[in-house]
Amino acid sequence: MTSNQCIPWQGNLACIQQNGIVIKSRHSIENEHVFGPDSDYTTLAISGLNLLSDELTINEVRSNSLIDDLTLQACGYLIDEKAEWTINCNSDASVSISNGEVQSWDIEGEEMDKDFHSSIQSAWKAEMDAVSQGAFVSEQAYRSGADSRMNFASQQLGDIRIWPPREMIGDQRPEQSTPLSQSGTIESWTKLSAGGAPSEFSLRAPILDGIGTVFVRMDDGPCGVFLIADDDSGEPEIGDKVTFAVRRLYAQDGLIRYGLKAILS
């Protein structure tokens, strides 16, 4: 790895060092870094591991109590207390992933409105306590699709690449295939007003001034609908390229649901 190289990565800031990386939220309030509207230690850790995995093979990590281990595993990283790589969660909205000593580093963040940050964090807390009224994505359903939701795990049937996963197509069951590449092109988009958003989003949608969604054709062929990461208020255009990163989707029944969101180019 190149030492002390700092780059923007999946909507975050990453500093690559000799023994690992430090990945930090790009958002700050009065020069102190804070989490974005849909990020936390888990999303930062996944983002950092994805970056490290570009150059290294990392299969197991030593996790941290502030990380959702099951989500990490859905992204392909096993939890092992004897693993070479350790995840540490830092108070400045950053995560270090290392096999030795790494240094914290200072970098200027994007200033976030203090009231907005406070409102959105309060909404997340309240959302955790919200209880579903019936038809919703249960924890079991969420977990069973997690590798596709978090890691684009796909299937193959003949020449056709399939995502999200399907059971039977005709009289055949598709084979498990490699994950899709994490890029695609916007074919349509919308922004739902707070009043038009699903009830799961009803606490945060008014604070975010609506919910942005894109319909994307992935470079590998399949299509999908995705929320826009970090509540990016930029207006997408049909034909724009997007990449993806894991972020919080919503919380319910005490469980945060994570998934891939689109990062606008």
């Binding site: 699709g145 919308t190 739902l192 958003a197 399949p222 299509c223 999908g224 609908v225």
Partner: protein, 390 residues
């Protein structure tokens, strides 16, 4: 094989209804019974199919048994039919099949939904249960969002634009103005509809149907019974239905509804007609873009020319070859989910018999069509009706 006719049809006013499920259903059934020319008694009904999503505020399980026991249809086979917003379109098809099969002579098809006794949050919850829960809902989509994605893509691929949707909204509000059963009886100007509050970009409030309470009841009969009970039956000339992938991302195109195309082809073939023969069509305009796409999918306009069709006012009552949504459609008449499909049949029954308000009457109408879509197009039922058997 036996022919099937509609011999009676009635509904409640759609909107904010003061009555609950039982009261609304009774009012609707009473209106349907009263519309029958001959000597009819509800104990003559052999079977009943009632469409409803069972929108959270009342009886969910065994709804049909509860409702029919309050309307004189005791001890007969009944069931609730659920196919999202197409629930009663499919209830009607089931009723038609029950008679066609020879198992029944008189069958009731109906629909009901009570939507406005819930808090806004609960309402949003229920409005989202019929889309793809595992992927679309987790991406923050409800139906305004899915139809907004379709609209923007249609604008991108074809010569269509938001003003075309505005024309549809203005037309349907104009059509519904004199409909005593309509939820939103408002004269909406082009300027007002063009500048409505943005619900799901590019769809504004004036592109979206309201959430309504309501019930509708239709009585079908085999030909040998129909002729005894009804002087002027409306014949079911064709019944078609189709389905498609639930989620948009699994469909080859998001600018057409394959389920509609399949249902229409089947219904037209059965009736021995083409789209050119249809005088009036009640189409499923839950959002104005849905009507625009329906005019293409049903064959009233060529693919990609739904915008032009709307722009030229070709669906306006008594102006073009076909009148689209003479009732005001879902946009003005209202959309009590489960009641919408058979509510459309109530309209064409009255239109073909010349029984609607004079200002709303489609002139010389002899062939009519109903088009009822479930959700964003996962299910669809299309029926063709005629004043005469062809």
């Amino acid at each position: 094989m036996v022919d099937v006719a509609v011999i009676g049809a009635g509904q409640t006013k759609f909107g904010n209804h003061p009555l609950g499920l039982k009261g609304m259903w009774a009012e609707s059934a009473e209106n349907a019974y009263a519309s029958i020319d001959g000597d009819f008694d509800p104990s003559m009904v052999d079977e009943a199919f009632i469409g409803s999503i069972a929108f959270g505020g009342g009886q969910i399980g065994n709804t049909a048994a509860l409702l029919t026991e309050h309307t004189g249809m005791d001890n007969i086979p009944v069931r609730r039919v659920e196919n999202a917003c197409a629930s009663s379109g499919f209830a009607f098809r089931d009723a038609w099949m029950a008679i066609k099969s020879g198992q029944a002579d008189i069958v009731v098809a109906g629909g009901i939904e009570k939507m406005n006794d819930l808090s806004p949050e609960r309402k949003r919850f229920w409005l989202g249960v019929s889309g793809d829960t595992e992927w679309e809902r987790l991406a923050g989509l409800t139906f305004p969002g899915t139809y907004a994605l379709m609209a923007r893509r249609h604008f991108h691929e074809f010569d269509s634009q938001h003003d075309d949707l505005v024309n549809i909204s203005v037309k349907n509000h104009q059509h519904g103005l004199d409909n005593e059963y309509a939820h939103l009886r408002k004269d909406v100007s082009f300027d007002k509809a063009q500048n409505g509050f943005m619900v799901a970009d590019p769809l504004t409030l004036y592109d979206c149907c309201p959430t309504s309470d309501g019930a509708s009841t239709v009585i079908l009969a085999a030909d040998h019974v129909a002729k005894k009970l009804c002087e002027d039956p409306v014949w079911v000339l064709g019944s078609g239905a189709g389905s498609d992938h639930l989620a948009l991302h699994d469909r080859p195109s998001i600018t057409q509804l394959i389920a509609t195309q399949r249902a229409a082809t089947s219904a037209y073939n059965q009736a021995g007609i083409t789209a050119n023969d249809v005088d009036l069509a009640e189409v499923h305009d839950c959002f104005t873009i849905a009507e625009l796409m329906a005019t293409e999918d049903l064959g009233f306009a060529n693919r990609g020319e739904g915008g032009l069709f709307a722009r030229e006012g070709r669906g306006i009552r008594n102006q073009g070859r076909v009148t689209i949504n003479a009732s005001g459609g879902l946009k003005s008449k209202g959309h009590p989910l489960g009641a919408t499909g058979t509510g459309q049949v109530v309209e064409v029954f009255k239109q073909l018999r010349g029984e609607v308000e004079q200002t709303r009457q489609v002139r010389d109408a002899s062939i009519a069509l109903t088009h009822n879509v479930g959700g964003s197009g996962a299910t669809c039922a299309v029926h063709v009706f005629g004043r005469e058997l062809l």
